[in-house]
Amino acid sequence: MSAYSVTEPSGRQKWIAGALVALYAIVALLPLLWIIATGFKTPSDSIAYPPKVVFEPTLEGYVNLFTTRTRQTPEFIAEHPPETWYDRIVAKYDMSIVGPSRYGERFMNSVVIGFGSTFLSVFLGTLAAYAFSRFKVPLKDDLMFFILSTRMMPPIAVAIPIFLMYRELGLSDTHLGMILLYTAVNLSLSVWLLKGFMDEIPVEYEEAALIDGYTRFQAFRKVVLPQATTGIASTAIFCLIFAWNEYAFAVLLTSGEAQTAPPFIPTIIGVGGQDWPAVAAGATLFLVPVMVFTILLRKHLLRGITFGAVRK
């Protein structure tokens, strides 16, 4: 940049702009920080007035999140002294742990369904994107638009027949059923994003490989795929985040076996009113991985959220 440019904002302008943006960021971040903090409060601290900023941190919320407890008489507690640190925490409330809660299961369901559907949609999406990017496919634009339009449907609109169809096929409330469903929903994103990434890889590389005697398939595997790694990885993270966050299908089509965490977290209730620290703990464990991924993804974020319509 030249020493003086008319388009470069002045120092004062920059300072004011920076201060305003930082102010917004801090205000916007407060709800998230508050939830993370609430996970480490006692139930009474969590609903204290005025809201407690300084408090004695406790793991009560996390213990309550992962366990089911039952109320005991003080005599029972005296006879069976708590042995572990988490037993001691619940003993303070005259309770004892009777078993694990369902949160662990729900979380694992989210992991299995999230990764399973991400793998499938990226696998299928990569193949389709390559074909759309490199070959003359009849009705290419129509097919691409068809793929995109599947995303415009309100989930509830297709949920009725999927519900009926899955009941017939024995897929309702199964991991496989949810994996297939999320794969179908994510395919539009994965094909559109990956086509954009593939379009950016120069065709000359493959042509050189073909001249060197590679078959088309070998060229795809050994030349194009390594070049597309970044694109594939960021597409995968987007698919994973979507499947991780999805709620409508999960709440309508699963109940016991294959239910993921989002429909489960709101149902966490304690004894005598909502157990906010446990809800906050569940939300924190569920949201923090996504925050980490978002930070990793920041360079490709724009592209992902616009289906590749806007690239930087």
């Binding site: 943006v21 709800p31 389709a128 309100p154 179908a184 395919l187 088309r216 966050n245 809800v279 569920f286």
Partner: protein, 310 residues
């Protein structure tokens, strides 16, 4: 032999070795299309068929009869559904309004290129990527009268009593409660797209305007706004479609209440389909919604293309 291979045109040589391009193209595309047909199009066609019947999933022994267009007529003349449409329109309009206003302003400020702008941008973006259902759940906590952080902050700024109002259970405030959370969550989306638009404007245009002694105000209205407009319209399209379909966030936040104040169309549809089990009726409802989204989106895309061509 080698010389012969060199002399053969590339396409023929390719076809001889392994699969032809055409075969590979179809091999690669077919699985995707088949899965989409099975899980999106087949159900959609099924929904259309159901929409002309009186089927109820919870009464499997009742005969399914064709009722013609009765479901459609009922929906389009139902007062309650017009009410949910109005609630949805209120939600879509105000969320778009605030998100465009705040999102564009933030992007414009970030484009002042101050030091550390990338870190702040990343922080601002975080809410957008989170699970809407979980976000809805924890905002009910922030909206608690008395102990909620939101009520406390409002009380602190205005001097009102924090237990005197409840964002979620008041008929007057609930529609705004959902607008606030959606705006908090999705403003970064509009901001990111506007930022890309602002960064796409070459410096040279402003330099030329500066030479012509155009005022900053004039530059803003004649250069910045027109050049960002296609990006902004794209952001509005994405958010418009998403918010028209809005379900997860609002269901967890207000559950459509109080009464049916915030019962958006998707929530209303879910009630008809999965609580009242009026399958045929709900199918017709779903088709009407889909056609509405699709129709509005296509009109909008035409307008967007016209703006782009200018």
């Amino acid at each position: 032999m080698d010389r012969l291979a060199e002399a053969t045109p590339a396409t023929i040589a390719r076809r001889v070795r392994g699969l032809s391009d055409r075969a590979i193209a179809w091999l690669f595309i077919t699985p995707t299309i088949v899965l989409l047909l099975a899980i999106n199009i087949f159900p959609l066609i099924w929904t259309i068929r159901l929409s002309f019947t009186n089927m109820r999933v919870n009464r499997p022994n009742e005969p399914i009869e064709s009722v013609g267009l009765r479901n459609y007529v009922r929906i389009l003349t139902d007062e309650g559904i017009w009410h949910t449409m109005q609630a949805t329109a209120h939600f879509v309009f105000w969320t778009l309004f605030f998100q465009v206003l705040i999102g564009f302003t933030l992007a414009w400020l970030i484009n002042r290129r101050f030091r550390g702008n990338e870190i702040w941008t990343t922080i601002i973006v975080l809410p957008m990527m989170l699970s809407p259902a979980v976000v809805g759940t924890f905002w009910t906590f922030l909206y608690q009268p008395q102990s909620g952080l939101f009520n406390y902050a409002v009380a602190f700024l205005t001097g009102a009593d924090p237990s005197s109002f409840s964002m979620i259970s008041s008929v007057a405030l609930a529609p705004w409660a959902i607008v606030i959370v959606d705006t908090w969550m999705w403003t970064p989306f509009v901001m990111l797209i506007c930022l890309a638009g602002l960064r796409s404007i070459p410096d040279a245009i402003y330099e030329a305007a500066e030479c012509d002694r155009a005022s900053t105000w004039r530059q803003f209205w004649t250069i910045t706004i027109p050049m960002v407009l296609p990006f902004l319209m794209l952001a509005v399209l994405f958010r418009g479609i998403e918010n028209f379909k809005m379900f997860d966030l609002v269901v967890q936040l207000t559950g459509g209440g109080p009464g049916s104040t915030t019962e958006l169309t998707s929530i209303n549809l879910k009630r008809e389909a999965f609580e009242k089990w009026r399958t045929g009726y709900a199918s017709a409802y779903a088709i009407i919604l889909f056609v509405t989204v699709f129709g509005l989106a296509s009109i909008y895309v035409k307008a967007l293309n016209r703006v782009k061509q200018r």
